[in-house]
Amino acid sequence: MHVPDGFLDAPTSLATGAVAVAGVAIALRGARRELDDRTAPIAGLVATFVFAGQMVNFPVAGGTSGHLLGGALAAVLAGPFTAVLCLSVVLLVQALLMADGGITALGTNVTLLALVAVVVGWLGFRAAQTVLPKRLASVPPAAAFGALVSVPAAAVAFTGLYALGGTAPIPLDTLLTAMLGWHTLIGIGETVITGFVVGGVVAVRPDLVYGARRVLATRELEIRTPQDPAGATS
């Protein structure tokens, strides 16, 4: 869902650029709380995996393909603020190096894929977590649900931006129906990939999954032995 140059007019592109800068600035602050010696390398891996995953388009229907967006996946694995940074780096490299997504549209793409998809994916994950049993086994399906809602959310957000500053006179209901239709299908692929990847990581290293921390908290307290009295507050 990379928006090329030309789809949105200059004022809208400037506005999404400002939103993107503000969002990344907030994420830079928030990510400090999520990142430490252990999780920072995982964040680098998550960004690399999302870039790679976005290259592998899967067919959905009727000669149309989709690919992983990775917003929910990155948020659950690395934390929501860190995920915004991961997706922003992916989009920057894609725009500058691969000419995938426009340069004037970079702010739009960061807004849609690094902000909307990550935030909605994370909120969907947290909402599912409150409903599902508080077990480690609930983390992958909750992540899958976050993924499921994140893709149509980004599609709706694009439609909203097009309503503000689309360069062609397109009836909005037609656009919304088409965007939601295709991206609900693509969202199913997103759901499957996210569920399997998070499930795989939870199976081998649940301690590295940001979204599993709440579930693991009690267990971790039992394992740790107080060797360093000064470090007890951390």
Partner: protein, 115 residues
């Protein structure tokens, strides 16, 4: 931890370098919608469209498999360096690291070497 990172990166580079060749070449959701609804022709070529790795292919490499695979690996490596570097720079320095420093301060020196 190290093993997890190595396996994860191996999977990522395998996807970017080899599996991507088998990706569906059909238009993606947004491209499809733009064609269907009728605004596909408003898309403009990116200013980076003439770059050496534009459209996930390496300029001058004729073999599609090699060209796409190399571009994928270059892109994935760039993301790894940028995202890994950024998150590493932002990370909280852990208490264990601080206590290791205070333990080493007895034989002084190391911290002041950079002055």
């Amino acid at each position: 931890m190290k093993r997890f990172l190595v396996v994860g990166l191996a999977v990522s580079f395998l996807l970017a370098g080899i599996v991507s060749y088998y990706a569906s070449a059909h238009p993606d959701g947004l491209e499809r919608v733009a064609e269907q609804v009728g605004f596909a022709d408003t898309a403009e070529d990116s200013t980076t469209a003439d770059g050496p790795f534009a459209d996930y292919s390496v300029t001058g490499v004729d073999d599609d498999r090699l060209s796409g695979g190399l571009a994928g690996i270059v892109g994935a490596a760039t993301v790894l360096v940028l995202a890994g570097g950024l998150t590493w720079a932002l990370r909280r320095r852990t208490a264990s690291g601080a206590s290791a420093d205070s333990g080493a301060s007895a034989d002084s020196g190391a911290d002041h070497g950079g002055d």
